[in-house]
């Protein structure tokens, strides 16, 4: 026994060199500081109010208690939050935003990447200028403009998910356009030329040749635009007042700022909002990583 342990220590001592030790410690530090907040979010969501409000933090919940989730989803709970409606609102905004942005961006970026026309560079540069404008700068004129238009045409600016989708296009379309243009440029022109010689029209070529080749890019751009809309906070905060219309981020903010603090409920709602996004990302990581560096997520 004694010799065995000594052997093990010798073995360890031989394995550990200074660079290896520093490397392992640094890796450990990174992993704990990245993962601890996520662990804390998920574990807190399964705690009871008693566990949350105790004198000392509960590091490992005794059981998976659903008290927080009941407050979010169970209508018989005294402070029922109807979080299901908020999830639905978020989906109602983010799915159309992604679809419209990708559809428009496919058309636009194809024209920029393939066709020659005057004013192309000006157009592309002015679209990229968006990266310079803070969202908080655009929201003032957008609010004033849309209030005016809404007054004339007869729709409400506040609590209108359609208006929100419209404003989200200002944030997603430039990103989508930029990413897709880059992708279309990597598809060799010769493939399209060949199809055109075979008698296809331009639109046929786009539909039958270019789009099938661009599926990986279409997937990643859809996910990015979806994520931008899913996570968006400022515009939703300004444009939504009615609790029934809130998207998830605004609802979580409201629960957090409630006079009776209920961190376990906030964490439960945050978990619901985070898990699908992280899973979506992990399952598509191969496609998505390139987009991250291409500015897929602004901010």
């Amino acid at each position: 026994m004694e010799t065995e342990r000594k052997n093990f220590i010798d073995h360890m001592a031989a394995w550990i060199t200074w660079p290896r030790l520093i490397f392992s410690l640094a890796l450990l530090f990174f992993l704990t500081s990245i993962l601890f907040p996520f662990y804390w979010m998920v574990s807190s969501s399964f705690k009871t109010h008693a566990e949350i409000a105790g004198r000392e933090p509960v590091y490992i919940p005794e059981a998976l208690r659903l008290e927080a989730y009941k407050e979010l989803f169970d209508p018989s709970h005294p402070s029922y939050q109807d979080f299901g409606a908020n999830i639905l609102n978020t989906l109602k905004v983010s799915v159309p935003t992604a679809m419209i942005a990708v559809f428009l961006a496919v058309l636009g970026s194809y024209a920029i990447a393939r066709l020659k026309f005057r004013g192309k560079n000006f157009l592309l540069n002015s679209i990229l200028l968006v990266y310079l404008f803070p969202g908080v700068l655009l929201i003032i004129p957008l609010f004033a403009m849309l209030a005016q238009i809404g007054d004339r045409v007869g729709f409400n600016v506040q609590d209108n998910l359609g208006v929100l989708i419209f404003t989200y296009l200002s944030q997603t379309l430039p990103v989508a356009l930029y990413m897709l243009t880059n992708y279309f440029r990597t598809i060799p022109d010769e493939i399209e030329q060949a199809a055109m010689i075979d008698g296809c029209s331009r639109l046929d070529v786009i539909w039958r040749v270019t789009l099938p080749l661009a599926i990986p890019a279409l997937v990643s751009v859809s996910i990015y635009t979806f994520m931008i809309a899913w996570n968006e906070f400022l515009y939703a905060l300004v444009f939504l007042n009615n609790h029934a219309m809130f998207t998830m981020p605004i609802k979580i903010n409201t629960i957090f700022n409630d006079p009776t603090p209920r961190p376990h409920v906030v964490m439960a709602a945050s978990t619901i909002m985070t898990v699908p996004i992280v899973l979506l990302f992990l399952s598509m990581e191969r496609y998505l990583e390139e987009g991250l560096t291409a500015g897929g997520v602004k901010g």
């Binding site: 490397f23 990174f30 992993l31 500081s33 990245i34 993962l35 907040p37 804390w40 979010m41 000392e56 933090p57 428009l104 058309l107 636009g108 024209a111 066709l115 020659k116 026309f117 005057r118 157009l123 002015s126 200028l129 968006v130 310079l132 404008f133 803070p134 969202g135 908080v136 700068l137 655009l138 003032i140 004129p141 957008l142 004033a144 403009m145 209030a147 005016q148 007054d151 419209f166 200002s170 379309l173 996570n231 906070f233 400022l234 981020p249 979580i252 957090f256 964490m267 945050s270 909002m273 985070t274 996004i277 992280v278 990581e285 990583e289 991250l292 560096t293 997520v297 602004k298 901010g299």
Partner: protein, 314 residues
Amino acid sequence: MAIVSKPNHWKSLRARETRLAWSLISPTALIVFGLVIFPAIFSVWVSFHDVGLHNLNDVFHAPFVGFENYRKVFADFAFKFQPGQSWGAAVTSVVYSFTATILTIFVGLIAALLLNRPFRGRSITRAVFLFPYVAPIVSVAFVWRWILDPRPSGVVNDILMKLGVIDLPIAYLATRGLALLLVIIFDAWRYFPFAMLMILARLQAVDSTMYEAAEVDGANTLQKFWNITIPELRYVLGAVFLLRLMWTFNKFDDIFLLTGGGFGTRVLPVLTYEFSFRLFDFGRGAATAMILLTILAIFMAFYIGVVMRSDEDE
């Protein structure tokens, strides 16, 4: 006839292509113009007019007030630099953006160097490293607030008290100075993956024969890092710096969610929001946003004109 008709045919094809191009791009161009370019120009106009909730329905007839909005912003105690009391939003913004950007790049560089070495489980580690950047801002900001809870039951308070570092719980995000520092650390935590990915992509493109040559010459790890890695990374570091600085300077969500802009963390985007949607003084809000944009533009012009040009000269 045939000679004439051929160029004509090509011309019409080209015209057709141009027409197609415009019809493909016009919906996008229209939306980008209507939702980005025009509002941007319009907000310059708003910053010179008295626009509030009272005349929002008739905004184009708002009275012209000249530089009054700007004067009000400059005179506001939340904006002004008052030595000894408060930095004011402009100075806070600059300090916050620069420090957060530099720290983000530093952490990203270390992470990239870690992931550049082969080890078991590297690809899953790399995916985990991206979590903070991918997760929704609202969730991660509130988890941080909950971890930094001011009560003794907050995790950080509990750990530090058990270790004997502090005797009494600290209200981390409600203490002047500490709050700004923590917001900066939060930013580094959340945004280092962006820097990491950019740096990693460049690191993997570095020609390995350079390191081999250096080894033959007897260079140690530190010398190799300093004389090969850093020079190779110079351009990517510059690009990341510029992008991150721009985005951090414009950032609203992080600070608003973490501190609400209190305790010495009120930056220009938060001040813009407060003027516009708490006081409903859109003119003053727009003026603040213009000041923000001006500072940013001056810096960008300086960076691109001076720093990047001197790089080229070398």
